[in-house]
């Protein structure tokens, strides 16, 4: 690790940080992998230096000079050949034992988390080219951004609805392919809070390069708050409208146009005319044909990514663009240029319309 870090620092000093690095594990799975990887790397680097050194020395030492006599004609030596068959075998045995241990250790999902609770089950569904996440125990559906609590083992069960994808969050676990008709699993226990990028690692078609996502490791309190907000979405119908049965409207402060999303709450719909306009446009433009704002068991709007909490998501467009107003506007107006081939087809959107839609989306937090 330190060795690689030094080389890395030298090579890429000006480009850090490395949020997608495999070399800074932040969970048990990735740490297990990292240990056996680093062991192998140290051995490999040692062998590399040794063998290349001998090679270079041989080249230098036995360089021919004019007038050299014919060198001694040696055809081989059984003794040295046996020796240099055995030495690599021994080195490999040193690698093989921890390899098999690590294979078995990573194959089993722990039954109890570090925080003493049962592992949190999350269903991962790969789509061309975005990720859907479902929390069966919490009833939540979301897209392109997974929230998990610190120190809880996460038990991911994965499927694809189309082609083969591969789920990869380098700082937490290795890749696991996601198949259309076969469930695969991977797990990890995060030990650091923060936002960590992940990506699809199996070539899956035109936009494979832009099928990213973020893992949000929250403190238990933040996770509980996020869960509560998602579950509150059940007060919305599939289209994001407040269900008639819900009457209690919390009082909220007025919203400045560029307010940070955290200052907003869902029910401001009723207050800001721009937001109301945005909501109408979301209907009129047909967004709700594919998207739902309801995280709780949506039955309609399930073709595209679920937009529950879209107003506070770090990234949009398949984990590809920062979720700024500017990017949202660009996405709404130039979808096929930002991500050619993506399934989202939306008619022309004027600047005013985009602003209204964004104002509405910002209320989804």
């Amino acid at each position: 690790m330190p060795l690689l870090a030094v080389v890395l620092a030298g090579l890429a000093a000006c480009t850090g940080p490395f949020p997608q690095s495999t070399l800074s594990p932040k969970g048990d799975f990735a740490q297990t992998v990292d240990h056996v990887f680093m062991l192998t790397v140290y051995l490999a680097v040692g062998v590399f230096i040794l063998v290349e050194g001998v090679l270079l020395w041989t080249i230098f030492k036995f360089r021919g000079k004019p007038g050299d006599a014919e060198p001694k004609q040696i055809h081989g030596s059984t003794v040295v050949e046996v020796i240099w068959t055995i030495i690599p075998a021994v080195v490999l045995a040193i690698v093989a034992v921890p390899t098999v241990q690590a294979i078995f250790k990573t194959a089993e999902v722990p039954t109890v988390s570090a925080d003493g609770k049962a592992p949190l089950k999350i269903e991962v569904i790969g789509h061309q080219w975005w990720w859907e996440f479902r929390y069966p125990e919490l009833g939540i559906t979301t897209a392109n951004e997974i929230h998990v609590p610190l120190n809880r083992t996460i038990d991911l069960r994965m499927k694809s609805i189309d082609v083969i994808h591969s789920f990869w969050i380098p700082q937490f676990a290795g890749k696991r392919d996601v198949f259309p008709n076969r469930e695969t699993r991977i797990w990890f226990t995060p030990n650091t809070t923060g936002a960590f990028p992940g990506a699809c690692a199996e070539f899956c078609g035109e936009e494979h390069g832009r099928m990213d996502f973020y893992l949000m490791v929250d403190s238990p309190d933040d996770f509980a708050s996020w869960t509560t907000r998602r579950q509150a979405d059940s007060t919305l119908d599939n289209f994001g409208f407040a269900k008639p049965a819900v009457v209690a409207v919390p009082v909220v402060p007025a919203i400045p146009a560029k307010a940070p999303a955290a200052a907003l709450v869902a029910d401001t719909v009723a207050i800001d005319p721009k937001v109301a306009e945005g909501q109408k446009l979301v209907m009129a433009k047909g967004c709700i044909g594919c998207h739902s704002f309801n995280a709780m068991h949506p039955t309609k709007g399930v073709i595209g990514p679920n937009l529950s909490g879209i107003g506070t998501r770090k990234m949009i467009a398949g984990g590809w663009l920062e979720g700024s107003d500017e990017n949202l506007k660009r996405w709404l107006q130039h979808t096929q240029e930002v991500k050619p081939g993506v399934g989202m087809k939306i008619g022309p959107v004027t600047d005013a319309e985009a602003a209204a839609i964004i104002a509405y989306l910002r209320t989804k937090r």
Binding site: T22, A44, F62, G76, R176, R182
Partner: protein, 619 residues
């Protein structure tokens, strides 16, 4: 370049035009040259594709090419470099040198050999023709179903790939039968198996791999073609088709294919090192058995390409350990190469430079391969740029360095001219620097989490600088082949005439004139030991044998030229293209297919009854 060979062609077949001469030739040397020339052109095309890829990845969020075109580029880059560059450049050496090294006048089946060549060239043109339609294959060189199925890959892109690979597979299989038979049966008197030049052993083992692995991919491609064209469901999910079936079939072929690409390189380097160290190959039998062992293990490790599919701990452990085992015979080879150099008197000519470069780079690729064998570590590295770095160290640092070494080594024998040494060394140093600048940073960008096959990457992940370095390196690497091309042109125009034996060679090809006469050996040689030419020189007490005279070939019977290999190849291509362009109809084959099939059948029939011994050269 080929001047002398061409002049010679005129002399032997005065009545035939040069074009007809080359189209109908069954001479393994002409076929070898055509393999080399066409493969080098395909190699340059594949290189250009790589340069566009690298330019696109030069900076984050770049928009030089569309995502779909990027996908076409990397699919065609991989497919081209494997099937249209490294394999046929190796085939050039098989063709030209296997008969010379074993003291034969031609291969066992000269017309079949010509057919392999034509099918390969037609298949390569067919694959690249797709670019003109804007529909080059875009599903990756591994064509994973269901992404390659009609549902997710409408359009003809993947049809070109499926059909093109089937065409190329037939060329390889025919060549496999031919060279296996040639090596076992056409050796000079006294050349027992364990006296064969090590390159011939490498070819023999390679052909075993071709013969046993290509049928598997052929069947997989047939299934995919049937799915795409006839509506079957071998890989169709809605009908319970299993996408894992494709992966298993593909890699049962795909891993032996890796050794098909590297074993000839091992063989070439094993020929060059002794000549330029002036001492025999260290541990000849160990070298032979390690190649055989690598090939054997090569059939038992395919699933190490599939660790991320979650096969379960037992399968992962098995394939991890089996893969590690391959490091043992590979290590033996590297140590034996160093043992060959040890105590020698190294003659620093260009071929030795490239051969040493091969060893140095291949060690790197081999060691990163061991890291991949560790299944849990591979979960992090597979499908990342680390893997891209690894296999380029094996296939470029290994195969291409060695094939280039072979080109400099055997060029004088092929064309009678010595390539320029100064330009050759410049080529080497630029290539070595460019290669490492391109691919060494990829190890790190991969470990930093950059997946493969992505057409762009966002800023802020720390990929920028390393990618820029790789791009600069790629252009340096590309320019090294400009030096090589210039060297070829310069040599062609004004290169020094090569003697029969410019390097003090150990093997039979150096005993005959450069370039060889059509019948190779005026008199069939008799061999009594390994390195027969060294033995002869030692027995005669000379350092260089007298220049062999160019003699009359009177009385030597050579196989007659034939049109049928070309006709059969065209018929076969037509048959498969017909399947591709067939539109939905009740009958599974359209008129084009039927015509192609008829041409093929008729061609084989006429071929079978064509007299073979009608050609006695007169010089």
């Amino acid at each position: 370049m080929a001047t002398s060979a061409l002049e010679y062609g005129h002399a032997t077949a005065a009545k035939r035009s040069v074009l007809v001469e080359w189209l109908t030739t069954v001479d393994h040397k002409k076929i070898g040259i055509m393999y080399g020339a066409s493969a080098f052109i395909f190699f340059l095309i594949g290189g250009l594709e790589a340069l566009v890829i690298r330019t696109q990845l030069m900076r984050p969020d770049n928009h030089l090419v569309t995502p779909d075109f990027y996908n076409q580029l990397f699919t065609m880059h991989g497919t081209t470099m494997i099937f249209l560059a490294v394999m046929p450049i190796s085939a050039m050496f098989f063709n030209f040198f296997v008969p010379l090294l074993i003291g034969a006048r031609d291969v066992a089946f000269p017309r079949l050999n010509a057919m392999s060549l034509w099918i390969f060239i037609l298949g390569g043109l067919f694959l690249n023709f797709s670019f003109l339609l804007g529909a080059a294959p875009n599903g990756g060189w591994f064509g994973y179903a269901p992404l390659s199925s009609r549902m997710y890959a409408p359009g003809h892109n993947m049809d070109f790939w499926v059909i093109g690979l089937q065409i190329l597979g037939v060329a390889s299989l025919a060549a496999g039968v031919n060279f296996f038979t040639t090596i076992l049966n056409m050796r000079a008197r006294g050349m027992t198996l364990m006296r064969m030049p090590i390159f011939v052993w490498a070819v023999l083992v390679t052909q075993v791999l071709v013969l046993l692995s290509f049928p598997v991919i052929t069947v997989a491609l047939i299934y995919l073609m049937l799915d795409r064209t006839f509506g079957t469901s071998f890989f169709n999910l809605t009908a319970n088709g299993d996408p894992m079936l494709w992966q298993h079939l593909f890699w049962v072929f795909g891993h032996p294919e890796v050794y098909i690409l590297i074993l000839p390189a091992f063989g070439i380097v094993s020929e060059i090192l002794p000549v330029f160290a002036r001492k025999p190959l260290f541990g000849y039998s160990a070298m032979v058995f390690s190649m055989a062992f690598i090939a054997f293990l090569g059939f038992g490790v395919w699933s190490h390409h599939m660790f991320a599919t979650g096969m379960g701990p037992l399968a992962d452990s098995f394939f991890s350990l089996a893969t590690m085992l391959i490091a043992i015979p590979t290590g033996v080879k590297i140590f034996n190469w160093i043992g060959t150099l040890w105590g020698g008197s190294l003659q620093f000519k260009t071929p030795l430079y490239f051969a040493l470069g091969f060893i140095a780079m291949f060690i790197m690729g081999g060691l990163s391969g061991v890291i991949h064998a560790v299944a849990p570590a591979d979960l992090q590295q597979t499908d990342s740029y680390f893997v891209v770095a690894h296999f380029h160290y094996v296939l470029f640092g290994g195969s291409i360095f060695s094939l280039t070494a072979g080109a400099y080594y055997w060029w004088p024998k092929m064309f009678g001219k010595l390539l320029d040494e100064g330009l050759g060394k410049a080529h080497f140093w630029v290539m070595l620097a460019g290669f490492n600048l391109t691919f060494f940073p990829m190890h790190f960008v991969g470990l930093l989490g950059m997946p493969r096959r992505i057409y762009s990457y966002p800023a802020g992940l720390g990929f920028d600088t390393l990618n820029l370095l790789s791009t600069v390196g790629a252009f340096l690497l590309g320019s090294s082949f400009l030096i090589f091309s210039y060297n070829i042109i310069k040599t062609w125009r004004s290169g020094a005439q090569a003697p029969a034996d410019p390097w003090n060679g150990a093997t039979l090809e150096w005993s005959i004139p450069s370039p060889p006469q059509e019948w190779n050996f005026a008199v069939e040689p008799i061999v009594t030991e390994k390195d027969p030419l060294w033995g002869l020189k030692r027995a005669a007490g000379v350092k260089v044998l007298p220049e062999p005279p160019r003699v009359s070939g009177e009385g030597i019977h050579l196989p007659a030229p034939s049109w049928w290999p070309l006709i059969v190849s065209v018929g076969f291509l037509t048959f498969l293209v017909g399947i591709m362009v067939k539109h939905a109809s009740a009958f599974p084959f359209g008129p084009i297919s039927i015509a192609g099939f008829a041409i093929t059948l008729y061609g084989i029939y006429k071929w079978a009854y064509e007299p073979v011994d009608g050609h006695a050269p007169t010089t």
